[in-house]
Symmetry: C4
Subunit: 254 residues, 4 copies
């Protein structure tokens, strides 16, 4: 089985696993479960983790060039191996976007709305859960509920940053830094898409101008072809009459 | 009557309705009217709401493909059906922009100034009223006057976010999130417009270069046409003389 | 005298006036002068104001189409007529930028650095003085020194907005709003310039591709010209010999 | 020895010096060393400073046009001569980026990730150390640890600006202003790169369109060439027969 075929087959099961993981993780974080109460959720999370590890190993096994795949997918190893990067497993849900994308169609406006809105929503969701997970047990924490976490994530990803809420632990600040960078990337994509859409409209005009500038060349060429054809007919006629002078004709050449 | 014709006819009455709605809504929000005092304003707002519902139903009735129109205009249904989205009815005033646009003319600079300034002003107005409406009755609210609300809306839409004022209720935070996203879109349009204007100037040079590169081809073609024409004249002359040798001429071929 | 000629003559005197105004205004604001102590500065400011009024009237008098000039220069009237817009007179110093621009040369990098750095510095200067002027007498003001005002202006124009300092009076907030919008414009120009520079490099490749695609057409045309010329020589030769058959020649046609 | 050759030779030793400087400077700043304890670090820093001065002088000596090099490298003089600009010596480490760049390859995505991530990381590092250096001895300072300084630098460079931490000394505010401007430049580069990548894809389509519009012209030209060649063959044949009338033939012309 090739890696591409495996990925096609694994796409939907992995997305389902990510959704199960999301539900277990969100419940555990929001309900502040610890000790016995958290046990069933821990089991679910270990199970989903096993699926992600298996996916990583199968991908590594099927890769045509394993060394190269390993180097270019170090981030996958980090997400799978380190508990801190656990929330990033939710990024698998980005697959939902490509599904949405296919159904929305291929217009730029649809694409931008789908990807930007989808990515931003996913980032806010992952960021909220992750920051709440690492912050809520700190003694001077400001972010204590999922509502607060989501509000903080939105003010951060848009780079507004009121400062009414902010993470105070090193891990929370790492989550925040990742969210800020994502925010800049999202803003960049929005601006760049609008710009490229405006430029595309200009480009269409350029193409039209190029085609238009070809027009006279083509009409002159057509005129020339007619002229040469007329010339040839006259020569043929001349030759026909000239045939009355000498009888011997050379072999006809194509 | 077609839907397009209805829209042309309804444009100005709907804008007037939106203005009446704006006046009633703003007065009610700013004067913190409740109970008996609010009654006449409530009547006006129900009346304007009836107009918007009628407009929605007429549009749905006149649409060539009702199912499709319903899907693509779900936001219109939300604005009309849910009281929370009430302030969005003010977005009808965006029609003023297209009127301004027509009078400003078609230069890019005029367009950007009109749309960006107009949209930003409208968003600040709608955002201020909406946030004041939902925030002012919360016990720990920071945004308590229209001046504060407008100041908060400006710091939010520009993504500055000092944090001296910020919403504290879930609904207020929803309004804020909408305003932040609008802010990013406005910034994106400003940047993209400047970029496309700079690119357009580059494009004009490209078009000129393309046209210039066509020039030699066209002059060579003209030379060639002259050459072939001269050739034909010489053949015609040769044929004229050749006619003195044999009397019989073949049938003239077109 | 034409308006254009007047503007050339008045450029440097007006800039000098703006510098004198800047010195007097800055001194008065920073030293918190009031009453008697402020008198000499008031005299200087009234004198520079008289120069700006005279400039406005002369421009209006020399304009080819006075009504049109009046409409398109309403902002000049506001700056000259309303004391609140006084600090905007400093924007005359933007002339310094165009002088700098000429000496820096015409490269895009030089232009961006000059205009962005120059405009940003001027906006920070004007914004600092204006906000300090309107804020420092408010009883709960946060911005009390020129250093604080400059720091606040920088955090505002870059849209960082820490919120350690912010204006509290309506006039101060108006100054802040103007500075935020300028900030967005400056950021837009920076991004757009980088984008157009990158696009220009792509465009050069397109132009090269267009020129290259013309090459084969031109070489084929040259070959065709040679071919037709050879043909004509052969015909001429044929005709020269044919001349030995019949003596009568038709009139030579050019 | 030419300046270019010197730069090639000096690249790695200077980078090593910058790393040594970084280690000494970071240790001194973070450990709040003063008096005797700081002495060995001071020695190391004076030594690295001597290397940078020597590099500056050698570059000045080898420059083809010394006056011009001096003017265009005034910032180098400032970095070398003024103790306050000391942290900027770390910007030499930007050389690491060009090395990384070479190994990452020439794809736009790789370039953007390398440069933006590298520059941002370097700016955060330099900004953190510099702000901690100038702030930590102020009595009302908020930024007191390297962790806080790095967190502050990230919120500043992304223009989020929560305002939980901010510099309070004039020098700290200068560092902050530099970091904010760098942040805007970094955001501009991210957006512009995405935009130019989108535009490049549009451009490729334009190039294809231009090439396609050349196609018919070229095929018509080829047809014309065939036509004229056929014509010439017929004339040659005609002439061959005509040769039966008069014996003398002119010299064959190519």
């Amino acid at each position: 089985m090739t890696q591409a075929r495996y990925r096609d087959l694994a796409e939907w099961p992995l997305m389902a696993t990510a959704l199960v993981f999301l539900a277990a993780y969100a419940w555990q974080v929001v309900a502040r479960l610890e000790g016995e109460a958290a046990a069933p959720f821990e089991v679910v999370m270990w199970a989903t983790w096993a699926v992600f590890v298996a996916d990583y190993l199968i991908n590594l096994g099927l890769a045509p060039d394993r060394g190269r795949w390993f180097i270019w997918n170090l981030h996958e190893l980090l997400i799978v191996a380190l508990p801190f990067f656990r929330p990033l497993r939710l990024l698998r849900l980005v697959t939902v976007l490509s599904v949405l994308h296919r159904s929305v169609g291929d217009t730029l406006r649809g694409r931008v709305v789908t990807y930007v809105a989808g990515s931003a929503a996913l980032l806010v969701l992952v960021g909220s859960l992750a920051v709440l997970d690492v912050e809520q047990h700190a003694h001077d924490a400001k972010i204590l509920t999922l509502g607060d976490a989501a509000w903080w994530a939105i003010t951060t990803i848009t780079t507004v940053g009121y400062g009414d809420l902010y993470p105070v632990t090193p891990l929370g600040r790492l989550v925040a830094a990742a969210l800020m960078m994502s925010g800049i990337a999202v803003i960049g994509v929005v601006t760049a898409s609008i710009a490229s859409w405006l430029v595309q409209r200009i480009e269409l005009n350029t193409e039209a101008a190029v085609t238009a500038s070809e027009e006279p060349v083509r009409s002159e060429l057509a005129e020339l072809l007619d002229e040469v054809a007329a010339l040839r007919r006259e020569i043929a006629e001349l030759r026909g009459r000239g045939g009355g002078i000498v009888e011997t004709t050379g072999p006809e050449r194509g």
